[in-house]
Amino acid sequence: MVTRFALLKELSALVPDDVLVLTSIGNNSGFWGQLKDRETNLFHLTMGMCSSTALGLSLALPNRKVIALDSDGNLTLNLGVLGTIGNEAPRNLTIVVMDNGNYLGSHKDEPGMPTATSGKMNLEAVAKGCGIENACTIEDVAAFRERIQSALANPGPHFIRARIEALDKDGPRKTKRVPDPRENKYQFAGYIQRTEGVEILGSGLGGG
């Protein structure tokens, strides 16, 4: 089986700068922030909030590719979102689920308590059952590369369940500070305002 870091490293080489990447809390945010330091990342999406945020963003900006880097524990907390994605069917949305089968948390030396996916739950089957036809499971870098390239080139929604090692034994060296939620908001919204010609942050009078 492959590691989260190996897949994120591969993704960092594949994803164009104008693709918006949203990351769930924990190591998806921590690792991605080290690998791809750029203003088109939205970090720290808490339990149950990663794919739903990506859905809202993809509907608001239908001409912009959006990738959600979600995880099994995060997604299963709000699993109904897959039904909403299936019905809304945004063509520009790709959900990548780092499925390690446990509630890892960060900086742990042994796997956490199991998620439902370590038992009988198959997220690819769930996604397909929700009407997301482009759903798959990958277990190595080559298959992941192929699926990401396909997702970037073809209409979605796409759902990639990545079966990864239970523990993050490898990872990037921490050289950069991942922006906090407010700082990240201004960076990300500022980029969208500048490139999409929409007003997000308003007049700024709220600060006094």
Partner: protein
């Protein structure tokens, strides 16, 4: 709910510039949801639960939309963690419109929500206005949304009594 009162809510959202809405249908507010689902100016996304709706609205804001969440009083409880998070950590504006069950004038006694709605909003530091008169619905929705966007935080409108029933 009478259709003319539901229309006031939709008119208020339009006056406020709201162009995106998410939520889970509530029996007392069903006419509003139906109107939103058919409206051409407001993109309505029906979600599986209200916490999901918070994420969808939050994401839509980053895409330049002016989002509103249409939440039942029970749904506010479901949404609480994500709503608190976008208010206190991210500081992102979303208008929250709530048919206020359990307040004075509600034909059914739903005291649970009287105990949870306003205290819950206060605990999350989400400002709100309680609206009782139909004549105040449009103006209040507009003003609450203006405040949300200026302050970069969610603001709620609670519609009760004769404003609804």
């Amino acid at each position: 709910m009478k259709p003319e009162k539901a229309q006031l809510v939709v008119n208020g959202l339009k006056e406020a510039g709201v162009d995106f809405a998410a939520g889970v249908p509530d029996a007392q507010f069903i006419e509003v949801y139906k109107m939103l689902a058919e409206d051409r100016d407001i993109r309505y996304v029906g979600t599986a639960n209200e916490a999901e709706a918070v994420g969808v609205g939050f994401g839509a804001w980053f895409g330049g939309k002016k989002p509103a969440l249409i939440l039942a009083t029970s749904g506010l409880l479901v949404a609480t963690y994500h709503l608190a998070r976008i208010n206190l950590l991210h500081e992102v504006p979303v208008l929250v419109v709530i048919p206020y069950r359990g307040d004075i004038g509600d034909p059914r006694w739903l005291g649970l929500y009287r105990k949870t709605t306003e205290p819950g909003l206060n605990a999350m530091d989400i400002p709100y206005r309680v609206v009782s008169r139909p004549a105040d619905v449009v103006r209040s929705i507009k003003e609450c949304n203006e405040s949300a966007r200026a302050w970069l935080k969610p603001v709620a409108v609670l519609l009760n009594e004769e404003a609804l029933w």
